[in-house]
């Protein structure tokens, strides 16, 4: 089994094939109407399966690295080439599905700040979007220095974790390109639960003090639907009972 298959697994491939099949059936053969939500769902499912495969692969590497009585080189780089079709199917389906999902999630004409705190208060949490939302909140509500000091500390903690993730990714890249690298140590460092925890802690704090609620209340609302008035002469008269 090559590295790509070990990472993605049969379920990822099936999801990718299903996505391409759906595209062919709707766009090429036009068997039934096209719904982008279906493709987005398949994309997220494929990413989820891929993530499980990665976790399993990392666990195998860590097990191999922590077995002292059987020292053996960690064969992360397989000499044989992966089947190009499998790689193309997975890559194409995930890219298409990811792009569709991104378009669905980003909103069509929402202003940038609204996108930022919609992401921060909803699905995709990034340090950048959290800080953009916080900057908008400070500009509008002036929360005071005590609370700003708290956010500054959380921001620094999350940014430090981000830098550690970049360093670990760099070290991991070096280890992969060198057969003598200490893979286990590097992978262990790269997993970095601290990075996720720091961002989650930051988001929870902003949620707790009501930043996202306040911003949503102040955001320009979409124009409400106003029904046309019904003129009395347009209403047909009720039939008179006999």
């Amino acid at each position: 089994m090559n590295a790509l298959q070990r990472l993605s697994g049969i379920k990822t491939h099936l999801t990718a094939v299903a996505g391409l099949g759906y595209l062919l059936a709707t766009k090429v053969f036009q068997l039934f109407p096209y719904h982008p939500e279906v493709l987005a769902g398949l994309g997220f499912t494929g990413l989820s399966f891929l993530r499980s495969g990665v976790a399993k692969h990392v666990a195998e590497l860590l097990d191999a690295a922590s077995a002292p009585e059987q020292p053996q080189p960690v064969a992360i780089v397989q000499p044989k080439a992966s089947p190009p079709f499998a790689g193309l199917v997975v890559a194409a389906a995930l890219v298409i599905s990811g792009a569709t999902a991104g378009a669905l999630l980003s909103g069509c004409q929402a202003p940038p700040q609204r996108i930022a705190y919609n992401e921060a208060s909803g699905g995709q949490v990034t340090l950048d979007s959290l800080m953009t939302a916080w900057g908008d909140y400070v500009r509008q509500f002036h929360p005071g220095t005590n609370i700003e000091y708290k956010v500054l500390a959380l921001y620094r903690k999350a940014r430090t974790a981000e830098l550690a993730d970049i360093d670990a990714a760099h070290a991991y890249a070096n280890a992969v390109s060198s057969t003598n690298g200490v893979i286990g140590t590097v992978v262990e460092a790269y997993q970095s639960p601290e990075g996720q925890a720091a961002v989650a802690e930051f988001r929870d704090f902003l949620t707790k003090i009501g930043v996202f609620d306040m911003l949503k209340r102040k955001a320009p609302a979409a124009p409400a639907f106003t029904p046309l008035p019904i003129q009395p002469e347009q209403v047909p008269p009720l039939p008179t009972p006999h």
């Binding site: 590295a3 790509l4 992360i76 790689g87 995709q124 990034t126 916080w134 400070v138 991991y172 890249a173």
Partner: protein, 69 residues
């Protein structure tokens, strides 16, 4: 692209989607040009490290001493 590079790119992008999509995009862009050099990684690190609280919060009420100034 070598299989090891593809494997690494998939791993980093998947993790990056969870952690920080912008950093994942930057790493992905680096890999699109080939295996990143030490200078590429240093530039990415510097771009993240150079960001400051005041870049996001220009209306901050914190004194300069809060930022080591």
């Amino acid at each position: 692209m070598q299989e090891s590079a593809l494997q690494l790119a998939l791993f980093v992008i998947e993790e990056g989607v969870k952690l920080e999509p912008k950093i994942a995009a930057a790493i992905s862009a680096m890999f699109s040009k080939g295996i990143p050099t030490a200078e590429d990684w240093a530039a990415l690190r510097a771009s993240v490290a150079s960001k400051d609280y005041r870049d996001y919060v220009p209306d901050t009420q914190l004194p300069p001493s809060a930022f080591g100034g």
